[in-house]
């Protein structure tokens, strides 16, 4: 069955009631857990189909065994963000796949995209960053950030700003529970799928401080950033927070992932300062084959990122995939052309950078625009990001080593704004509510919170573990200095 899109619900005015009702239910839950499910089921309709519907569905062969068994026994209490699972096997198959695809984006995708761009003496340290972040964020997500991002806060005053503490350590999560906005998918799948987004975001930031940050600092920074920057912004946009209720459209993470990572990256580049020898030494990418592999895996994996964000295998998911392909191609070509004109030669680095710029820009729009719109977004993003990565960086003269801000920050902003312009209601009814102003509001809030919080976290690191490796270490190379390893 078609998943009722949560983003959709809350952007529709008439549902505001349902949501406030949901808050109410959440409060009730505080009072009496046993009472919660039914109350929740009623108040959040159509978000949650009514209780009887659930039970009948649960009886269908289509539902998972545990659910079936549960149907017999009285269903145990659920948290306010949970609903009974009514399995959509086709959708589940696609999201299981999408989860693998999005993980593929970070390891080995992003690791290679970045690893190829640094100098040979830093390649191991650079790929180790993506790999370590993957492991670290997974544990942090399970311990607390999932609950903070997607839990419904029992207090209707707090819910717009932060999730709950009830699902820490994935407490109360069962094989037969689902997230209210995607009742066709097991909650455990929802958790893993969303986890892959929480992983890639800090990994993207690493491009801004590549070749100079301490490994220990990276771990501390990532932990704090996941909790205090990613979790809240994710909750605001996707967890029923105030940005979603305000009607900000972000299909797959232009705001939550890319603008957020881009701004954080800019702050990091400014606070850490330039690499030793920046401007004088040759810091050209040492292995563009690695970068090509990385860009390709990002491209392929992004299908899971964008088409997976429909949480089903249907027409909108197909539109998201087609749009992703078209925008990415358009951006790669427009970056190539601008570079060809200015630099006289089109490069592999340019093709790869342009493709990523397109992937970033189409992310918020993937399930809202039509293919023609996607092509326009791609063409603009390719040229726009070239400008920011090449000219802007020169003008303001900061060392955003691998252009985390230049590509993800600017690309994300271009995409978020154009979503407001190009959203097509015939592709996705939610597109009807699109507005550039709302989008700009979402961007602004993200920039402010991400910028300020990232700065504070960096200061904490600076005066505790310290930010940069020693100068000798930077000269010797981070592979040897930080990891005692080398490419032979």
């Amino acid at each position: 069955m078609k998943l009722t899109s949560f983003k959709g619900l809350i952007t529709k005015r008439l549902i505001a009631k349902g949501l406030s009702g949901l808050m109410l239910a959440a409060v009730l839950v505080g009072g009496g857990l046993m009472a919660a499910p039914s109350a929740h089921a009623q108040d959040t309709a159509p978000a949650a189909s009514s209780a009887p519907a659930d039970s009948t569905e649960a009886a269908l062969p289509a539902s998972s065994a545990p659910a079936a068994e549960a149907a017999g026994t009285p269903a145990p209490a659920m948290l306010p963000h949970q609903a009974a699972l009514t399995l959509d096997t086709g959708g589940a198959a696609w999201i299981l796949t999408s989860t693998a695809l999005v993980l593929l984006m970070t390891i080995p995708g992003l690791a290679l995209f970045y690893g190829g761009m640094v100098r040979k003496k830093n390649v191991i340290a650079t790929v180790a960053q993506s790999f370590a972040i993957t492991a670290l964020v997974t544990v942090v997500w399970m311990v607390c950030t999932y609950s903070l991002a997607f839990g419904f806060n029992a207090s209707s005053a707090l819910q717009p700003y932060i999730g709950s503490f009830d699902a820490f350590f994935l407490n109360h999560v069962r094989v037969d529970t689902a997230y209210t906005a995607a009742k066709g998918l097991p909650e455990m799948l929802w958790i893993t799928y969303q986890m892959t987004f929480a992983i890639i975001t800090p990994a993207l930031i690493a491009g801004a401080f590549a070749e100079r940050m301490k490994f220990s600092t990276l771990l501390v920074f990532t932990t704090l950033w996941s909790i205090f920057v990613y979790a809240p912004i994710c909750h605001w946009v996707w967890g029923g927070g105030f940005l979603s209720t305000a009607g900000v459209l972000d299909f797959a993470g232009g705001t939550v992932v890319h603008i957020n990572a881009g701004i954080a990256g800019l702050v990091c580049a400014l606070v850490l300062g330039k690499r030793k020898g920046y401007g004088s030494e040759n810091m050209a990418p040492h292995n563009l084959v690695y970068t090509m592999i990385g860009a390709s895996l990002l491209w392929v994996g992004w299908f899971g990122f964008n088409a997976g964000s429909e949480w089903a295998a249907d027409g909108i998911a197909s539109a998201a995939m087609l749009n992703t392909q078209v925008a990415t191609a358009g951006a790669a070509l427009s970056w190539m052309i601008v570079e060809w004109v200015e630099r006289k030669k089109p490069g592999m680095l340019g093709l790869a950078s342009g493709a990523v710029a397109g992937l970033v820009a189409i992310t918020p729009a993937a399930g809202f625009v039509n293919p023609q719109g996607a092509l326009i977004i791609g063409l603009i993003a390719g040229a726009g990001c070239y400008g920011s990565a090449v000219w802007l960086k020169k003008i303001f003269n900061y060392d955003d080593s691998l252009d985390a801000f230049g590509v993800h920050g600017i690309g994300g902003i271009i995409g978020a704004l154009l979503t407001g312009v190009l959203a097509d209601a015939s592709i996705n009814s939610l597109g009807a509510g699109a507005s550039v102003m709302k989008q700009a509001m979402g961007i602004g809030v993200t920039i402010v919170w991400s910028g300020v919080a990232t700065f504070i976290i960096l200061m904490i690191c600076k005066y505790t573990v310290g930010l940069r490796v020693s100068e000798e270490g930077e000269v010797e190379g981070l592979d040897a200095a930080l990891h005692g390893e080398a490419m032979h």
Partner: protein, 112 residues
């Protein structure tokens, strides 16, 4: 005996090797080197960052030859390595006091 050091453009390696052989030199040793001189390296540009590479790739050939064979070898190399363009390279001649063939222990010219 003399040590002839020839620094040449990489794509000339096979031609120069054959020239040496024709000149009666039976062995030589090659290393990949980077050269600095009148010929400048190309400039690398990536994402706006511009960098003038100071060094150009070259090949260094080292051959120890009999005093008598030096002149001919130098001529042969000059002919084979030349393109007339800047960066063709250099030939240097140094004196060698002793030579030993490890396998047989032969010394002097017979070791070459």
């Amino acid at each position: 005996m003399k040590l002839i050091i020839a620094i040449i453009k990489p794509f000339k390696l096979d031609e120069v090797r054959e020239a040496f052989v024709k000149a009666g030199v039976e062995g030589l040793t090659v290393s990949e080197v980077k050269g600095y001189g009148r010929q400048k390296g190309q400039t690398e540009i990536y994402r706006g960052a511009e960098y003038q590479v100071n060094f150009v790739p070259k090949m260094k050939l080292e051959a120890v030859v009999d005093d008598g064979a030096v002149a001919g070898a130098v001529e042969a190399v000059k002919a084979a390595a030349g393109t007339g363009k800047i960066g063709d390279g250099k030939i240097f001649v140094l004196n060698v006091e002793e030579a030993v063939r490890i396998r047989t222990g032969e010394t002097g010219s017979s070791a070459l």
